[in-house]
Structure formats: structure tokens, C-alpha cells
Amino acid sequence: MTREELFAILPLLVLTGGIVLLMLQVSLRRGHRPALATTLAVLLVALWACFTVAADLPADGAISATMLFRIDHTALFFCVLLLLAALATAVLGFHHLLSRASNQDGDAYPEEFYILLLLVMLGACSLVCASHFASLFLGLELMGLSLYPLLGFSVIGSHSPQREQLLSLESGMKYLLLSALATALTLFGIALVFAASGALDFTAAAATLRESGPGNSVFSAGLTLLLVGMAFKLSLVPFHIWTPDVYQGAPTPVTALIATVSKGAVVALVLRLFGQVDLFSVPVLSTMLAVMAIASMLVGNLLALLQSNVKRLLAYSSIAHIGYLMVAFLIGASAFGQEAVTYYLVAYVVTTMGAFAVISLVADTALSSLPGGTGPISDPSNDPYQIEFYRGMFWRSPALACCFGLMLLSLAGIPLTIGFIGKFYVFAAGVQGNLWYLLAAVVIGSALGLYYYLRLLLVMVQCESGSEALAAGEVNIAASGKLLVIGLTGALLLFGIFPQLLINWVNAL
């Protein structure tokens, strides 16, 4: 391994070093705030490392660090995006854990949350940079394995109400079992690809594909199984069954993490895999993706109509959103397709992170303001994850509700927000690729989607005249949480009104 190669994987090294550092720090002296500080520092240094590496990339724009990783501008861009999402998650996690930590007991372990978070990031970043089926698998598993304890973190890591603990346990177990199945399928797929091509790196697979053509059935079967594994992570219908339960049960910051980082990394990987191996020339994969995309848009939006729990609602909506994204993905190996997917992914990450941030912060406030602090929330009308909880929020805390409203409008794809530009890209890509069936599904899906986004929006704005007493209950979230929400809303508006700023950046990749 040359110096140049080591330099290229600097972001990964920073994350690895950070994990070790944090573990040592925690073993020497426990402390919630110091752990958060270290995590934020590690993430910031990793971000800096991404920019440094990007500045020094050679003219052709890519460095292969051994066979396993290929660092190029696209990969670094996704790393930056995911690391920013991780920063937001760390802040959210801090508030989440703080509101659930009891003062007298010493057996809460909030520090582990940050270690696991960094491990997830290491997995995600290696996945984004992977150019070999081994590193693909390593990244995927590293991410998955650190997500299981995070999903169940309410059970042991913090003093959550019992109800949350049960849901959290359920969510962790479901993800563990189903994810294990998906991993097995992925592994088998990789084995079949190896059997057909005799090599495990992407370039060799591409060579095999060029020689034998798309007719090679062992190769196609392997890729199909691999794609099924990816579809599971992306929760494309029909591999979406885990999504609502896991989203609902997980601690909300972890839900945000799984919705943004885990999905974003897999999208980046699939983009690279399809581009490098030229899988667009395998018709069976495109057909499969198209069918899954249409099913996701329709099923996701239809099931979201019935939800009264905000987290479940967003879970179904995220299923639909990945469906939209696949429309842009499907137009094939063109620069425009990549640009569209990237833009949509940024829009998705910003908006989803923002929506979950608001939900998480609101729930934290509700929990800490309840009498008894960490007592079980048995009364469903007090459940901060129910839509009804948001009734009249616009009049109680206008700023927060405005931000949340903008997130919802962005999810619905209304102008002035980044979500609209993302949807515009999807339409442009669909028209360019003549994907009329998919576009029809996008239109139907969006119309259905409007119903539940608007319902939530109107619930926030409307207030029964009898419940003026509610008006007193202003939602007070902590300053750093406010800063985070405002930052995300700012990005959402900035890139929604002046998309050219982001387009320039994406185009430079």
C-alpha cells in the first residue's frame, strides 16, 4: 500500500482512529458530554479529511486504494453527505439520551451510542467507497451489525419508558432476523458472481459481463440475489415489511440514521455498482428495479394513508421516496441519471433528517415535561408520536411548526423546497428515458402522498376553539436542537430556491 493510497482512505482512517479513541476515553472516564464532544470532533475531522482528499485527487479523479476501495469525487461527496447526517444524528441522540437519563442511577450507558454511531459511519463510508465485493460485504455488515444494538438501545442504554423499551426491542429483533436473511442472500449472490467471473472486484465482474453478455444465467442469478439484498436495505416493496415496525420502535435518532445514512450509502453503492459493472445492460435487473419502484411508490403511499403514528407514516413515505429515486436511477448509465439520483438523494437526506429531527426533539420535550419524567406513556393521547399530538402546534410554537411544515411540503414536492427540485429531476429523468409507466406511478403516488402530508400539515395549523388551553403548551426544544432544525430548514430552502448552487457541485463530480 503506497502513501498515496493511505492518504486516499484518510476519512476511513480518521473514523477508525476516532472509534478507538472514543472507546479508550469511555473506558477511562465515562461522561455523556465528553463522548459527544469527541464524536463531533471525529466527524468534523473526517469531513475535513474528505475535503482534503478531494482537493488532492489526481487528474483522472480516482485513486484505487488496493483492490478494495476506489476513492473518487462522487464517493467523497456521498461521504460528506452521510457524515453531515451523522453530525445531525449525534446532536439528536444527545438530546434523546439526555431526556431519558435519570440522575440518581448510574447504569445508563449513553456513551456507547456514539461508538456505535461511528461504527455505522465507518461501515457506510466503506460501502460508499467499495469497489470490490469483499469490501461491499464488509461495509454492509459493519453497518448492519452496529445498527442492531442501536435499534435496541432503549432497552439497556438509556432509561426509556417501558413502552419504548418493548418497541425498541421488537424493532432490533425484527431488523436482526430479516437483515440476516438479506445478508445470506447477498452472500450467496456474491458467491454466484464469483463462480461466474472468477473474481470479486467490480472491474473483473464488468469484464465477465462484457465477454459473456447478459445471457450468463449464473452471473445474472448472482446479481439478482445481490440486488434483493440491496432492495432489503432500501426497503423497496416487496422487501419493505420490516420498515414501519423498525422505524416506529427504534429511538428516533436511530430511525433518522437508518433512514438517511443506511439508505443513502446503499443508494451510492448501487449507483457505483451499476455504473462500473454496467448492469444497466442486464435487462432482468432493470425490469426488476422498475417493478419494485412502481410497487414501492404505490404501496408505500397507499399504506401511509392509514397511519396515525408519525414515525410509521414517514416510514411508508420513505418507501415511496426510494421508489421515486429509482425512477431517476433507471434511465441508465448517463451523466444525467447520476446527477438526478444524487440530487434526489441529497433532497431526501436533508428532508428526512429534518422531519425526524423535529419528531425526535418534540418527543424529548414531551417526555421531560410529563410528570414523573421517565414514567411509562400509557395514555395514547399523550403519545408524542401520534398525529393528534401535533394539533395546533403552529399556534403553540410557530417557528418549529413552520420548519416541520416546510419539511412536509418538501416531502410532498412543493416548490420553494429542495424536494420539489428533486422531484423535478425525477420527472426530467423519466421523460428523458421514456419511462411513462413509472412517471404515471410517480404522479399517482404524489397525489396520494399529498393527502397524508397535508393532513399532518393541517392538523398542525388547525386548532379547535375549545382547546385554547393547549395554546399554553409551547414546545421548548434545546438551543442546539433549534440550531439543527433551522440549519436543515435553511438548506432545504436555499437549495430549493437556488438549486444551481448544489447542481454546480454535483456536476463537478
Partner: protein, 527 residues
Amino acid sequence: MTIAAMIAVLFLGGLAAWALDKMRPGAGRWVSLASLLFAGALLAHLWGLSRDGSANTAQAWWQSIELSWIPRFGISFFLAVDGLGFLMLALTLLTGLFGLVVTWREISFRQGFFYFNYLWTLAGVVGVFTALDLFLFFFFWEVMLIPMLLLIAVWGYEARTFAAIKFFIFTQASSLLMLIAVVGLVYTHYSNSGQVTFNYLDLLQVQLSPTTGWWLMLGFFIAFAVKLPAVPLHTWLPDAHTQAPTAGSVLLAAILLKTGAYGLLRFTLPLFPEASAQFAPVAMAIGALSVVYGAVLAFAQRDMKRLVAYSSVSHMGFVLLGIYALNTIAIQGAVMQMVAHGLSTAALFAIVGCLQQRLHTRDMEQMGGLWTEVPRLSAIALFFAVASLGLPGLGNFVAEFMVLVGSFGVDHWTTAVAALGLVGAALYALVMMQRAFFGESRRSVSADEQERVIDLHVRETLALLVLAVSLVFLGLRPQPLFDIAAPSVQRSLPLNNAAARAPAAMESGRAATVARRPETIRKGDTP
């Protein structure tokens, strides 16, 4: 610059109204009034410019502004105003002011936010009427919806949430079809010329194959037909109009419906001349059907506001019929109908609002005999009712007459069916008058709380009278309006210009002196 300033004034005025109302309750409406008047002054300035400019510069667009916005897609912030746009802007600001003044004291809670939404809706509409970049047009098209949604959902009546969501889903889903059509058009242009642009003037040059043109035209048509609304797609309208607060109904009926008709004139006809000509018989049939169907349903309503709402369906049917007759007379009639219907329906909704505020009901079964109690309100209601049924001497008559004259030569039978709508209009308008204002009082109020119903205030009376005078003016001297609209109407008829030359002789000389920009001239437009 003036156009951009108008939009900015309304946007900023909305923000200021919200902010100031928080500090000092009641300030919001004064801020709104001031920003609307300021916008009106800007519009008057624009009018002055056109008077000076037409002599020497001879441009199709009175004023335009173009700033680069998203160069990646050739999208620019391109606003321009011509005669049609000017008329629509004047209608927008006039009815906006009217709606504000007539409901001055009606909004009892969260006034700041109300006026914020009110002004933002108007700003979006002004943008729609001036945008000449298809992306920008779509942008404003959507921007005007959200505040309207909130107006209905927060300040509306009983079934407001349902009505608001229905309104939004109908318009949004159809506008996504338009977005696909816009992107399709741009992509076709890109394949032909290698240049990505959303500029309207550039896109007029696109050569479309008949099939592509047909599908793209349908995408635009459906979006505009929902807004118009044309019959199978109209079901959002009665709900939205009925549930909206009075000011919201005024905006919806007087302005938002016109964006659909404007879109047909500005975009569908010039962009897809061949496909539109092919589609015209269908569209005219839909128009005639809307006229009759709207009239029949209006006749069947008990709820006065719903009656006025269905009458809108009927009147906008005339607009659709006139536009797709594809000749100058009928389209001039359609433009006149847009303005006249805007004024008369705004007034009718305001009257229903006044009644609801005084009687706490819109059910005509519970009214009756109001004339003796509120003579002033009743007299004004009678005036607008007969305006709505098309009494000669008022704007609506001129409009409907011209639409019928223009389309009769194109399609006798469809026009004959549409003419039945006039009979229907007379029926429902007079039945409304009869049930609500004449006869015995049927109000189920016990004797002790039988307080006197207060007649119209001076403020309300004046506001309504302004609209009444405008309608009389339009009815007696329609020519100025036709002169203003003539160049735009000519531009929206690229195929039929040769055929329309002869009837166009009745336009004043102004149309001829205004030369068109070369890029708007298409084949078939040769002198």
C-alpha cells in the same frame, strides 16, 4: 422591473402583515391594504408605460424582465406583461382589494396569518399571469396553492379540511401532469436544437410530431381544465368555494379560476396549435356540457354559496367554449367573460358572505322576505344576479353574446346547447332572488331574539358599487378592453390568423400597429 416589484410588494407585504399584526393586532389589514394599493399604483405605472411605449417601441410585451435563475436547465426568472396579462393583473388587484375591503371585519382570529396567506395567494397569481418561463410559471402555479389551502383549512366553514385537501389534490395532481408535459416539451426542443431552455418564446418554435404534440397538449389541457373547471374535473370547486371564507371564495372564483383560462390562452393554444385545433371540438363540447350541467346543478342547490359556485362552473364553460372556437370574436368574448365573471361572482360571494354573517346560514330555505329588512343588500344582490344571468347592458351579456356568435359559425349544435345555459342562468339567478329576498320570511328565530338584521355598511356598499359600475362600463363600452386584449388574442391564434383577419377588422387600429416580435411568428402566420 415594475412587474417584479409588484410581486415583491405582495410577498413582503404578506410577511409584514403577519409580523406587524403580532405586535399590534389589527395592523395586518392596513398593511395589506397599503401593499395592495401600492401594487395597484405599480400597475397603473405599467399602464402609463404602455401608453407611452406603444407609439415608438412597438413591442408585443409591454415590459419584461429576464434574470438567469437555474442555468443548468436554461431556466430564467422571466416575467413579461402584455394586454391579456395586464387585464388579468387589473382583475387580480381589483378583486383582491374588493375581497379585503368587503371582509374587513370578518376575520376574527389569527388575522396576521390570514392576511399573510391572502397576499401570498395574490402574489402567486400575479406571478402566474406574468411568468414567461415555463418552469417559473409552474413554480408560481404551485406557490399560489399553499396559502389558498391554508385560507380554506383554517378560516373555512364546517367541512373545511376535506374541502381544502380535495382542492389541493385535484389541482396538484393535474399540475404534475402539466409538469411532465412541460419537461416533455423542453426535452423535444432539446432533441431538436440541442439547447435546454424553458423560455416560452423559444419553446414556441418547437416542431412537434402530431402524436407528441397531442399528448403534451393533453397534459397542459388537463391541468388548466381542472382549474377552470371543466365538467368531469370540477368536483373540487363546489366544496372549496362553499367551505372557504368569503375572502377566500372571492379569490378562488374571481382570480384562481381565471388562471386556468389564461393558461389555455397563453400556453396550450400557441404551443400546440395543430393539436389544439384537432382537439377543439371535444373541448367545445366539454365547454357546452359545463355550461348546461353547471346551470342545472346550480338550480338544484339549497345552499346559496353552492349555487353561486355551480354558476361559476356554468360561466366558465362559456370561457372554454369561446377559447376553443379558435376565432378572434369568440376568444375576445372569453376574455371579456373572464373579467366580467370575476367581477360579478366576486360580488355574489361577498353578498352571500354578508348574509351568512348576518343570518348565520347559507340555506335559502331559511331565508325569504329579506328585501323589506335589508333593502340595500337586496337591491345590490338583484343587480349582480341579473348580471350573472346576462342582462344586456352589463359585461356578462357582451361576453356571452360574443362567445356564442363566435362559436356558432364553428359548431352550430354545440353552441345551441350552450345557449340553453342562458335560460338556465335566468332560472337559477331568479329563483335565488325569489327564495332569498322575496316572499314570506322563513327564518326559524323565536320572537324574543328576532333582532333586526343590519343592512350593508357604507364600506360594503361602496365596494360592491365599484364592481357594479365596472360591470356597467364593460357592458356599455367593451371596446377598450377588446383593444387591450387584441394583440394577445391574435398571438394565441397562430394557425387561424389568416382566417381571423376579416373579423379582426372590427378591432381598432391598435392591434395592427403593435408589431409582433419575430420569434412569435409561426408558419401559417404569413401576411
